[in-house]
Symmetry: C2
Subunit: 335 residues, 2 copies
DNA sequence: AAAACAAAATGAAAGCATTTATGGACAAGG
DNA sequence: CCTTGTCCATAAATGCTTTCATTTTGTTTT
């Protein structure tokens, strides 16, 4: 069933059918109705390829994320997908993994698929070395690229980020004010947002003259997949003599590991031991006591990201970078 | 940059360029090299729309899931995506939500996008009423449809499921054998897999003459999003006089709520109170003690699903339904 | 070495299903 | 009778694949 069949059965030219299909107003009500009736009767849907060929767009946005089973990223994808669809766009999702090579491959794939824009979900797409970010610049030369929780000053790249620095800074100050002195920072990555969080922690600690040498604990493979391993890591450090009574974690899963560690050590939470998480994910309410965590308003970020993207696609001038502030959700792991 | 430009610069016809592009062997090494050189030099990539128009396929599979932020579904999507890409297929993901209407809309969208096949991730796509499953039959009339953890006897629909019945049956028997008598079943849905799990529990309980009237507890909105609400639900039931010392949960999040409930009631786990989860998700290792949970070999299921799909697409005869058995992962919440 | 034939390599052109620019027919208004 | 505007059809354009015909190359045969 093609547009020719419809035009024949409706007794009009294919151009008229096309106009009806695309909502052109240069069609009389009468013929429009006749055409629509035929279309409905035969359940005709236009061929997406041919349409794409003619229009050179398929109203599709490419979404890239390193790992869609990551809690935070999955949630972001959910919001983004939903909002795109509400605006008549579809999406193609690529789970890229964490390697530059696979990311580049996915990027090319999306470009090949003729997406109208690309959204990079998560800060792990940005590399230290500028040359490693070339794949983003290349893509941006073709279509607008949106960054969620990352930042890159390149033409046609737009960023929407949460103010991780301030959130961490204030949360750290709060913990210090409750009397905890030996606070360590527990993190897994030094991506864009990771660095900002770390800086917030450091600034607060330095201000209060509490920064010693040993309070940066990194566990590279920190994700919810291996909370037990992270817990063991802390226990080992403890056995080696590293003691602390407060943990600022870069992610809820790290925070959860800290809670489990504290339990194993026999600390009472929050009397003897404080923990702050990040992302306010479902993990926050999974442990006992529930995690105090920072909520970075993911839905707001996503909403803004889509709005910006749609603006860019419509040819409007849009802000290159937007920052939203987060919120500390006080629960049971801090005083 | 089109195929015409390349053909001109390489001094051959567009047919030859096309043949080089598609790996046809009817082209001499010499011209092949010359054409490839030009292609590389100008970084030419064929237009996907035009190609699709000609071939009437884009090597793309549509994936539908109700909610990609669901832990289990997200993981499934991850596996599926990865395995598809390894086989040269791309995917379009649609998060459909739980309404029949939005599911139907997503289905139509994928068909419109000319996907080569559709994968429905999760058992919530199947409805009780046959007429509600018409949207699946309609889709299957166009492209093969794969069901993960669901079952439907319709032409061109293929199922890969885990043997939830047996897993639950055996896990329930095990719990009974440890001496727990008053075991309730805590669940949230009566989808295909939900029903199978329930049946497993009931069969075991009936066999041991332990089935009373009050041991089916349903909490409709049970997902990791509202573990606190589920916990409260159990507490309320307790206050109304419903007492029990064992919980078989249809999902890890429900199990986690049960653990939190037991804690609040002052039960010791597993001495006074036993809990069994399902899916062996990350939640299993997030609580204290860690959850005993049933692992249904998700990666194996996904691998098999893709293999079957690729087989169908290649025109081979493939099994309509495949069943894999699960495994009980013993941890701290059962004796 | 030429002729005959088969096989391989290539090109021309016909799809594929749309969109859209161009222009024609017709009716209404002056 | 001319102009204007509405509605619609014709035809070109989009970038590729693929069939079919043709040319080139290679292999036998004489």
């Amino acid at each position: 069933m093609t547009i020719y069949d419809i035009s024949e059965k409706a007794g009009v030219s294919i151009a008229t059918v096309s106009r009806v299909l695309n909502g052109s107003n240069n069609v009389s009500e009468k013929t429009k109705k006749r055409v629509l009736d035929v279309i409905n009767q035969y359940e005709y849907t236009p061929n997406a390829f041919a349409r794409g060929l003619g229009l050179n767009t398929m109203k599709t946005i490419g979404i890239m994320c390193a790992d869609s089973s990551d809690l935070y990223l999955a949630k972001a994808i959910y919001y983004i997908e939903q909002k795109l669809r509400a605006n008549g766009y579809d999406s193609i999702l690529c789970c890229t993994g964490y390697e530059l090579e696979t990311k580049t491959a996915s990027m090319n794939l999306l470009i090949t698929k003729k997406v109208d824009g690309i959204i990079l979900v998560g800060s792990n797409f940005i590399y230290e070395k500028d040359s490693d970010n070339k794949y983003i610049a290349d893509a941006a030369a073709q279509v607008p690229v949106m960054l969620l929780n990352a930042d890159l000053d390149i033409p046609n790249v737009y960023s929407v980020v949460s103010d991780d620095f301030t959130s961490m800074y204030e949360a750290t100050l709060q913990m210090i004010q409750t009397g905890v002195k030996d606070i360590v920072y527990f993190y897994n990555s030094t991506s864009y947002s990771g660095k900002r969080k770390l800086a917030g922690y450091r600034t607060a600690m330095e201000e209060k003259k509490l920064l010693s040498g040993a309070n940066l604990l990194q566990f590279y493979h920190g994700s919810h997949e291996n909370i037990p391993a992270m817990t063991q890591h802390l226990v080992k450090l403890h056995e080696k003599g590293l003691k602390f009574h407060g943990v600022i974690a870069a992610d809820d899963s790290l925070a959860l590991a800290a809670v489990k560690y504290a339990r194993e050590m026999g600390y009472r939470i929050p009397e003897d031991f404080s923990v702050l998480g990040y992302n306010n994910s479902l993990l926050s309410v999974c442990c006992e006591p529930e995690l105090t965590s920072i909520d970075n308003k993911l839905e707001t970020l996503c909403q803004h990201l889509i709005t910006t993207l749609l603006g860019v696609l419509a040819g409007n001038e849009m802000p290159k970078k937007t920052i939203f502030s987060g919120e500390i959700i006080k629960r049971g792991t801090t005083r």
